[in-house]
Structures are given as C-alpha cells and as structure tokens.
Symmetry: T
C-alpha cells in the first residue's frame, strides 16, 4: 500500500516557465525528500513597464508518504 500526498505551491522565476517550476521543486525539497512529480495548473506573468518581470506558476507537487 503506497500513499502519496499532494501539496499546492506557487513559485516564480524571471527566466522561464520551466525555471519557475524548478524553483518550486527546489523549495519543496528542503522539507520533503521524495518528490515524485509536478502538475502545472496555471501560468501567469507579472508585468512592469511593459516587460515580464516574473513567470509565476501554480503547481501541484506529489511526494511519497513513508510507510
């Protein structure tokens, strides 16, 4: 019997959508050690003076619960 927990995070990056996802995973790894995957729910961009300053991704992060 394996059970996984799913948490929701919002992470951001000035570089790209992929980098925002990786920032969220990196932060989740500080407290969780069995992150299995991520589902990207929503993609936003924050704009200042006509430029994207931040790619912001809302995501579901799945990690295994130990025994």
């Amino acid at each position: 019997m394996s059970v996984a927990k799913v948490i929701e995070l919002t992470a951001s990056s000035s570089k790209s959508i992929e980098d925002a996802v990786e920032n969220g995973i990196e932060r989740a790894n500080e407290t969780l050690d069995e992150v299995e995957g991520v589902w990207v729910q929503d993609i936003k961009a924050i704009v200042k003076d006509g430029k994207v300053t931040e790619w912001r991704v809302n995501m579901k992060v799945t990690f295994l619960l130990k025994g």
Copy 2:
C-alpha cells in the same frame, strides 16, 4: 525566488459569507504568519427549520514560505 504555499480550508459563520472567510483566516493565522490572500471556491448554507444556521465557505489560503 519567492515560493508561496496554498492550503484548503472550510470555515463557517452564522452571520455572513465574509465573516466565514475571516474566521478561516483567523484560524490559519494561529499557525502561519504570512497569509497573503484567500480565494473563495465554494459557498454553502446549512439550513435547520427553514433558517440558515451556518454560512460555510471552502477556500484556498495562500501564504509565503520563508526563504
């Protein structure tokens, strides 16, 4: 790099929808100190003898994860 976590709560009030949301935030504040915002997902009313006894709100609460 900022990362926010999103949790889901259901809170209620006998007074109003807004009061139910505020009750949920008040409870979240006991353990979290950087609540940024709330998204109201669902609004229900519990009825007894033809009267609303409880406004019940399901909500997503966003708070900043510290560095």
Copy 3:
C-alpha cells in the same frame, strides 16, 4: 438508507447575496419540510441606471426524502 433530493432554484433580493439565498430557502420551505442545505452556484447582479437593483443567486437546494 437515506436519500436526499437536490433541486435548482434562482432567487433574488435587493439587499444582499445572503438575503437572496434566504429568500430561496423560504420559498422552498412552503412545499418541502426537510431542507438541509444550499450550494450557491452562481451570483449575478441586475443593474438599472448604474445601480444594483437585484442580487440574483442560482442555487442547489438539498432536502431529505422521507422513508
């Protein structure tokens, strides 16, 4: 074995969203006597001359079917 029926109503009020819900419940109570709860599906406002004249709520009303 308990079975509940769910009906859909649209009710309105000039005062507030909560009052529109309560108007719908009051009307349902005239013919049903075991209303348990309400789920607010949609909230609209009718506008005349730049003022809200009516808060209109579409809702699902749940009531117990007797034995």
Copy 4:
C-alpha cells in the same frame, strides 16, 4: 436585433463582496451607459497582518450596444 457586449473587470472594496461589485459597476458607468447586469466569476480576499484589507471580485459586465 439586440446585441450586448460583455467585458471583464476586477474591482475591490474594504467593506464587502457586494460593495466590490458596486464599485466595478460605478467605474463601468463612467464610460458606458447601458449596463444591464453583472456575473460574479471569482471572489478573493487580500490579507495583511491577519485581516482582510480588500474584497476583490472578478466579474463579467454586460451592456447593450446601441443600434
């Protein structure tokens, strides 16, 4: 043949959900004169120091296009 246009606004209020909707309608009325109604799509609350400082409503506003 009547045709209505639908625009999307986000408006806010420190008081209530209903007041946020009315603020959005008031602003729409400055440039449009036949607002017919509003559909509330999303309800959020902005939180500072554990208190709701702003009720923020995303809404679709419908107004008649003249002949």
Copy 5:
C-alpha cells in the same frame, strides 16, 4: 466557529476502488485524528500485461482543526 482543513492524497489498492479510498484514510489517521470525510476526485487503474495491478484514487480528505 469550526474550521476544517482539506488535504489531497493519492492512495491505491490491488482490490477495488473502495479499498484504495480506505487505504488513504488509514494512512491519514496515523497523523490526524478527526477525519470527517473524503471526496473522490479521480479514479485510475495501473495496467501490467493486460491486467489491472492497482486501483489508484486521488482524493480530498477533510478533518477538523481543533479549537
């Protein structure tokens, strides 16, 4: 004022959908003691050599937060 928290789990069973839900509740009970209910969001089956080896259920678990 009662407030409930909602968490998301994915649990599995080789036997049935119902058994997968019960496995998820059993695991949640190890750390939470007031589980009230479960909403089944998604049902999947993992297949090997043409046979279902695992029923996998994604679910929202609601539990009361103590005063």
Copy 6:
C-alpha cells in the same frame, strides 16, 4: 417526440459505491416507473473513527415522461 426528465439525488450505503447507486434508484422507483439510467456525478465517503461508515453518491437520474 420523446422527452426525458433528469433529477438529482444523493444516496448512500455502508457497503459500496454500486450499492449506494442502487439505493438511489430503488427510492426513485417508488414514485417514478420509467427510470432509464443514472450518471454518477460525485463520490464521497463519510468517516467515523477512521472507518468509512457511508459511501455517498450524488447522481443524475433520467426517466421518460409519458406522452
């Protein structure tokens, strides 16, 4: 010209999801005699002391309206 009506019920069973659906159909049959089918919309489980006490199914029931 055939017309069918669709009603919404919530029924439950301590045994299984299938049994909850059959309980809802049984109750519908007391007053309707041409039930054609059921669409399962939502599946929930009520939990007490870490055990599922009730499988609760929300469903749409379709039945033929006579001529």
Copy 7:
C-alpha cells in the same frame, strides 16, 4: 421577491437542434405555465446506418414559481 425553479430535460427531434429544444418546451408547458427560458447544455446526434435519426438536446428549463 421572485423565485424561479430550474428543471433538466432531454428532448429530441428528427429535424434540427432548434426543433428539439421546442419539443422540450412544448412538453414542459403541459404541466408548467410560466416557462421563461431554456439553456442548452449538451447537443447529441443519434446515428443509424450512417444517418442522423435524432437530434437530442439536454437543457435546463427555467420557470417562475407563483407567489
């Protein structure tokens, strides 16, 4: 205070989508006398020997509840 009820019907026609909707309204009118409007939820076509034999429309029918 006006309250409207919403019921769900499935009606069909061998001619067109519009005719299927009108058949549903005609049937609803036999028992209800204040039908206000219809929302078309789903459109299907039944096919036999490569030809559409029936346009089948699932719809929500709104009617006023008297006083």
Copy 8:
C-alpha cells in the same frame, strides 16, 4: 508577429442559432474590419407563452489587431 483580440458578445435572433451568430458578427463588423471567427460559448432560448421568441447566443469574436 500577429496578435488577435477576442471580445465577448451576446446576440439574438427569432429564427435560429445560426442567425443569432450572424447578427452578432454583423454588429461587430460595424466597428471592426478583420473579424476572423467566432466561438459559440452558450446557447439559450427566451420563451413567451410556450414559444421560443428569441435564440440568444453568447460568443467570443476574434479579430486581427493591425500591426
């Protein structure tokens, strides 16, 4: 680099769903000259005395923004 804008209209016709869409496009063409297409979002019928008096279509209209 081509950019298109999408606006939302509600248009109606006493004749058919297709005619309601064409009425909306005709009105849009009075102020826009590069309408590319329409996506039908919602179909309603307004009913008086048991007859459809109006087919009402909510639609997204896409048109090219000039360089």
Copy 9:
C-alpha cells in the same frame, strides 16, 4: 460485454451546424460501419469579409467495436 470506441473529429459546412455534424458522420462512415452517435463539443464559425463562410463543429463520434 460490449465495448465502444470514441474518436474526435472536426467537420465543417457552409450551410448549418447540423450539416457540419452530418459531414463528419459521412466521413467517419467511410472507414467505420457501426457509428452509434455523436456528441457536439464545440461550435465555431469562420468569418471572411463579415460573412460566415464555414460552420465548424468539434465532435466525439462513438462506434461499436466488434466482438
């Protein structure tokens, strides 16, 4: 044990929504001989010089798989 397969098609017609659906079924019939039905998912109109040149329907087509 009967199993049906569901495929997705987009078909079009210069005449009407119904005709676009029938064009899709006609094409499906060239390779499949047990089409049972169609579910209309999306309706679009392609516009040139302010006129609808094409009704385009996205649809799910269901056909029986033989034993």
Copy 10:
C-alpha cells in the same frame, strides 16, 4: 524519447464498476500490447425495471507507442 497514445473507450459490465474497466482493458489488449493505464472519466448505470442491468464506464486508455 517516449510517446504514449491515449484512446477513449466505453465499456460495460453487469457486475461492478471495476469489472467494466477490466472489460475495456481486455478489449484494448486484443489490438494493443502495451496498455499502461486507464483514467475513469464517467460512470453511468443503465436501469431496466428498477434494477441496474449494466455499469457503463467511459475511460481514457494510455499505451506506449513503440520507437
């Protein structure tokens, strides 16, 4: 680089929801040999004389495409 294809089936069983899913997989296996998993999209029951005669499941079936 791995690519999987997803097809949609509707399968049924007189016994249970799980058995309907397994019937769909069994049929898919006759022509495909790398079925990986199934996502249950919709659950229906066909009713005759007040009894469920068929559990009918609409599902997405995923299988690996070979190199």
Copy 11:
C-alpha cells in the same frame, strides 16, 4: 477604489511560449500603459511539414483603469 480591466488576446511567436506571451504584452502596451499581468489560458502550436512554425498563446491581460 481600484478597478482593473481584463482583455483577451491571442499572440504568437516562432521561438517559444514565453516569447509569444511577450509579443502579446508588447502589442497591448501600444495602447495601454498600466499592464499588470497576464494569465496564460491556452497553448497551441501550428505545424507545417512536421515542424512547429508558431507557438500561439491565448491570454487574459489585466491593466489598471485610471481613477
């Protein structure tokens, strides 16, 4: 009282999803000067001869309405 307007654009790029979003913002900036953010609704790719020639993004653009 702040009110923001939300418009819908579709923009494209031959390079990447992020570049398509930035092209849409750049175009919006020609007529609007307070773009705050973008929500990516849909991502498509146009294909010619087996290659992606265009990443096409549908997005909601939010900008502040002045006092």
Copy 12:
C-alpha cells in the same frame, strides 16, 4: 467538405516544454502526413532526487483526413 481528426498523445523531453511538444509531433509524423496543429492540454514534470528529469506534455494533435 474538410474533416480533421484529433488524437491525444503524451510526449516528453528532458529539455523543455516546447521540446516535449515537438517530440510528440515528430512521432505523429511517422504515420500521419498532414498534422496541422497541437493543443497543449496538460504539463507535468517528473522529478528524481529533486531535479526535473522529464517534461511531460499531454496534447491533442489535429490532422486532415484526405478526401
């Protein structure tokens, strides 16, 4: 009369979301020669040891059916 077929694929890449889409198109091109476009439905990331090892995209691929 043109008819297009829509199939669903899941493709992946260790590099980027765009590359995963292109891998799916490349594979589709081995058996189909008129791919017109792709709609990205879902974006996931597979994680091992805190790093994204695979961007996995679920997509609908549209291609023209000949004559």
